[in-house]
Symmetry: none
Subunit: 244 residues, 4 copies
């Protein structure tokens, strides 16, 4: 693309001025290489893209929001689309960060599932995340890899972690599952039952309340464990209930 690479000649002639800047910035990064500036741009892009969607967002808005010049953006990102993709990549990281921590400290299965389901439900249906997903989905027709990559590195990874978690539960004899992947999907869907679709289609204009999510999740965990829980799990739960 039309990126302007560092002009060697120009740099060469300004050695005396360069030193000062070099000193200040401990080595000036090559064009499009400064991670601080990059982050700054992405941050501006986030505010604008998430707020307005891909098409309605203007590069001028992003310029203003990011506090950098138009030209600079085009040094770091070849065009609007690439900037958007970079943002989505970042966004994905933020959304799914720490989402699965609760699975690491598992003891009581039912309560772990509930905790996990609640985190999942809160995250996925939060206004911010719904909007991001809408933006990605809306762009997925024109840039299918974008949605694919988002899914793969986001929901897919979480899914895999949850599959692993279910594996240990199976090993512990608490659940009996033939198709673990399918069961993992089923659990996820049960935790979002009715909510995700309503949010994404903006049938709901606000995110569901914590109470509502808890209600859905508890019911979902019930269904899941009635379907997949073993007698051993039931026994343990009876024991636990008695001792309490």
């Amino acid at each position: 693309m039309g990126q302007t690479l560092p002009d060697a000649k120009t740099l060469g002639t300004k050695t005396e001025d360069c030193d000062l800047l070099e000193t200040l910035r401990r080595g000036r990064p090559a064009a499009g290489q400064d991670p601080v500036k990059r982050a700054q741009i992405i941050e501006g892009a986030r505010r604008v893209f998430i707020d307005k969607g891909f098409e309605a967002a203007s590069m001028n808005d992003i310029t203003r929001e990011a506090g950098v010049s138009k030209g600079t953006i085009y040094v770091y990102f070849a065009n609007k689309e690439e900037l958007f993709e970079a943002l989505i990549e970042e966004e994905r990281g933020t959304i799914f960060k720490n989402m699965y921590d609760v699975l690491d400290h598992a003891d009581d299965l039912r309560e772990t599932l509930v905790k996990f389901g609640k985190v999942l439900g809160m995250k996925i249906t939060s206004a911010k995340v719904i909007q991001a997903q809408r933006t990605v989905i809306g762009a997925s027709d024109r840039i299918p890899e974008l949605g694919a990559r988002f899914y793969e590195r986001g929901p897919k990874r979480g899914h895999d972690k949850f599959v692993t978690f279910l594996g240990t539960a199976i090993e512990r004899g608490l659940v009996e599952i033939e198709d673990v992947h399918l069961a993992a999907y089923q659990f996820t869907e049960l935790c979002l039952a009715g909510l995700f679709r309503q949010c994404i289609f903006s049938y709901r204009s606000k995110a569901p309340s914590q109470a509502e999510i808890e209600h859905v999740v508890r019911s979902g965990v019930n269904v899941f464990l009635k379907a997949y829980g073993t007698e051993k799990l039931a026994a343990e739960e009876r024991a636990h209930a008695t001792s309490a």
Copy 2:
């Protein structure tokens, strides 16, 4: 121009159908009243909007695709948004038409659920419908009522029909459900477990196979009935299995 006008010769050979068409097109239709032209425009709009999304679609594209002039479109639809909404309304009608018929002829509960789940799964994950949903979702940021209306008149109505169906199953003593609405959502999600999200994010580039859907649906029905099925249902199924 590329207009597809009723072929006079063909019409002449089908005298029995002619009456209907004559009624529709008796003389020249009033401005914005010709259903043939309207359909033609909607069809062009479908191709462009579904392919590119609301914002990226241009009225010029639609003009070209529909084979009518710009001005004509604006006689039939006040502006781009109204054309889009009309299209979405049509799409919704097409998508959800007949989708719930299987619930009317219910006898064996499990098989009815499987049949329904399969229809649901096939429809919702079909390439065409996924694309339409993406378009609606993508536009939902700028036109929230659009997504809301789509959901309300589409998935919502289906959901209500299914709730009614579950009601009769409860009356027949085959299932025992506290929160019928939630259970209905759960069933729907179970039938699409893993599939819908993968399709909508274009992680899958093609619709799932019939076999895959059947697998998911059968498992979903199992989970659902293990959670909500009564002893009476189990007895009936045992009896049925023996007699077979």
Copy 3:
């Protein structure tokens, strides 16, 4: 121009229907020849053009206002511009009609001048007429003949009549004028002093009141007669004042 001439063949085949129409309209006028329809179109055009100006007026508006079809208008007038010109021609006739009658029944010179000045002032500064003049002036750059013809057949003719009137006053020895044409112009301007310009530039948003016009006219007549009135006139006026 694309005018559709009467189609002989078609007419020939409908002789039986034609008779009825023929009877009703006592001979159907040739295309573009029916003066009633022409007047109807002009009337519609007047309402729209005067209200919105040339450019902002749409042929659809005129169609609606006139109660005739688009095609018909184009049979009577080759295009928007010609229709506009025809309208202006008509308008001119209406505006200046009867404006000079007061000059025919002259006895007392001063009072005749006042009467005439008042009629002139009222007409020329009336909202309707100001708007018409604005429209003509605005179009005069693009269609200079339009303004020229308007002036020639309107103000110019009035001017000539007034020149004749002044001629008789001269003959009667009441005024003494070297350049009668110039004096006529001067009188006209005096009667509109300050008013016309303010109206035409919409510095005044409403037409001046009758009182204001009378004030201006009386002062104007004073100036005019001080400049051009003879001793004889003064004597007559003194006599008249005494007898009253």
Copy 4:
């Protein structure tokens, strides 16, 4: 493109003028701040607007005539209307600049009035100014404030100056006037008697000759002074005539 940028070579040879230009263009001007470019746009707009009127002028025409891109115009002016208003403001300034200077160096009343009348007549009936006035008048239907502002800051200010001038003449006992404002209007009209209307309606295709204007003005001054001049003025003029 056809942009007329300051010619670097030429600038280099004129070191004494350079300072001014440097001040104007020191470094690259901010968006919409370059007075050279602004002037360039206004100049293009002048040609197109004055030639075609507000409505008929297209931004494309102006773009072409000004030699700048469409986008640039919209950096300097928010929309067509603002550009037009800016142009009219400029025109007004140019037209009325220095028009009333002659009133400041008044000695002989009659000759001052004649001089002033001539300047007035020449200006107001010049082809350029007539066209500008036509443009303003034509637009006054749709943008009444435009015409109002033009009148207020142009003719109105001149009128006020002339009223002041008449005031001193009254103080000097040379004229006796009841309604000074009205008298001022009368004088202006007398100086343009017959000319303004004929020009503005393009009944005259060319501006009146200097001789014609002088004739009209001298007659107008005569009428004015016969109506308002005092015995003192007459005496002074007799004295002056004798001494000459």
